[in-house]
Each structure stands twice: as structure tokens, then as C-alpha cells.
Symmetry: C2
Subunit: 149 residues, 2 copies
């Protein structure tokens, strides 16, 4: 085994079930929530307040098994799991970019939550730089959007 | 335990040791390398060719233990581990944005590698959108840069 994943904390979110999370084109991801870091890890949050955006690495803990090919809600054609954000992945790891609204001790109030309540958090990292919009290509997703609109 | 991490493949990189990876201000991350996905996961790469950039989630397999506070190469002051990219993390998970140059079967030729050769890959996801540059704040890192230049 590579390592033993341990939760550094849990997500507090209004979403109790997958069906409640907005998906597909035009889905707004401005839901607020809290990243509740375990008190023993609080020193690890030192100076995090200065960052506007964070990467949150978390676990799809209510997903079972994986599918190498699947049809996402945004398309009618199947795509490879590594070309989608499907929860049914070989390693059930999720990644979300959130905006840090404020920190309250070991509670990070954030915007952009798409995780379910009680989701285990594996890691938090500062979001340092972006790919310039004019160099970004979004594959099948851009094609599917064109087809739809 | 949350789940048992399994490598979906390995990074092929020119970097054999941590000291070889460019770090600090002005570090260029344009090294080319290969994400060598295991043949049994190749169907999961279907349609990945259309994306210009990918998130690679990988394991710091040559790092041991963690430090909640540490001084990164870019500063003289200690910062919380979750406000840095330090390898000494509670869950030794790394995250890198790479540019997909071309796909050759289960080998993804990419640019922007900062991982060591043989690094286990946990997941690959499409990079879908960026935080606009004018809304991004980079905390202690921006301060440290100002101090230096």
C-alpha cells in the first residue's frame, strides 16, 4: 500500500445527497460551507488567511467502485474517467477549488463547495496560479456545450 | 481507513532527486515528462486528448512524516503546511497542473513536470476553469516576492 489516508477534517455543507449538488452546464458553484479542520492540525493553517483561493483534496466517501468509461450529466456520450470529474474513480479522490471567505480558528469558511456534508478532507493547498484563459482547451466539455446551446 | 490508494501509473521524469527540481521565485516549470498509465486503466483516458491542461494527483513517495509548520525555500519565515506545497504533509499527496502535449496510447506526454522519476500517480482530472488573475491573492508568497525583488 502507498500510504494510509487519514482525514485532516470534514466538510460542513448544506448538501446531504449527491442529487442536491448542482451539475451540468451553467451550474453555479457558489454554495458556502465550512472546512472544519481537526484541532490537532490547526497549526498547519498558519498564514492561510492571505490566500483568496484554495485547492481542497477530499474523498468521495459515498461512492463505490469505479468505471473507466462513463456518461457524465453534461453529455450523452461516454468519456474516460480521467477526462471527467466522475466520483467512480480508481482512487476516490475529489478536487475542488474554493474561495476562502474567512478563517475562524480551525474553521475555514469557503465559497464554491460541491461536496456533501461530512466529506473527509485529505489535504488543503494554496491556489497559486492559473492557466491563462486563452491557452485553455476544454475538450469534450466545450463540444458538448456547443451542441447544447 | 478511508480507502487503499493504488497507483494508476507512474511519472517518467528527468528528476531523480528532490534537489534537481527547480524551486523558489522564478523557477521555471516547463520540464517535459510522461505520465505512464497502467495498460488496464487505458480506457479511462478516452477523450483526454481534447484537454490542454490536466490536474495530476500523485504521492510524495520519498517524503516521510509531516511538519505542521515549515519554512519553504521561498521564504525565511515558517508557514502552515496547508499554506505551502511542502512534501511533509499529513497525507503525502501532491498536485501538479501539467500541459498535455500529446497522447501515445497509455503514455501522456506532458509539460510542467515537477515530480521525481517513478512517482506514483493517484489520479488525473481535466483542468476545466481558472480563477481570473485579478481576483487571485497569493498570501505570504506574494509578500515574500515583494521582499526579495
Amino acid at each position: 500500500m502507498l500510504f494510509t489516508p487519514t482525514p485532516i477534517g470534514f466538510v460542513r455543507s448544506d448538501y446531504q445527497q449527491t442529487a442536491e449538488v448542482p451539475k451540468g452546464f451553467g451550474a453555479r458553484h457558489d454554495a458556502e460551507g465550512v472546512l472544519e479542520v481537526k484541532p490537532e492540525f490547526e497549526p498547519g493553517l498558519t498564514d492561510i488567511d492571505g490566500f483568496s483561493h484554495l485547492f481542497v483534496i477530499w474523498m468521495f466517501d459515498r461512492s463505490q467502485g469505479f468505471e473507466l468509461l462513463g456518461t457524465p450529466p453534461t453529455d450523452t456520450r461516454p468519456h474516460g474517467v480521467f477526462a471527467t470529474r466522475s466520483p467512480k474513480r480508481p482512487n476516490p479522490i475529489g478536487l475542488t477549488v474554493v474561495e476562502l471567505v474567512r478563517r475562524d480558528g480551525c474553521r475555514l469558511h469557503v465559497r464554491g463547495v460541491d461536496m456533501l456534508d461530512d466529506t473527509p478532507i485529505l489535504d488543503i493547498k494554496p491556489y497559486l496560479s492559473s492557466v491563462p484563459a486563452d491557452t485553455l482547451r476544454r475538450g469534450w466539455l466545450a463540444e458538448a456545450e456547443k451542441g447544447q446551446y
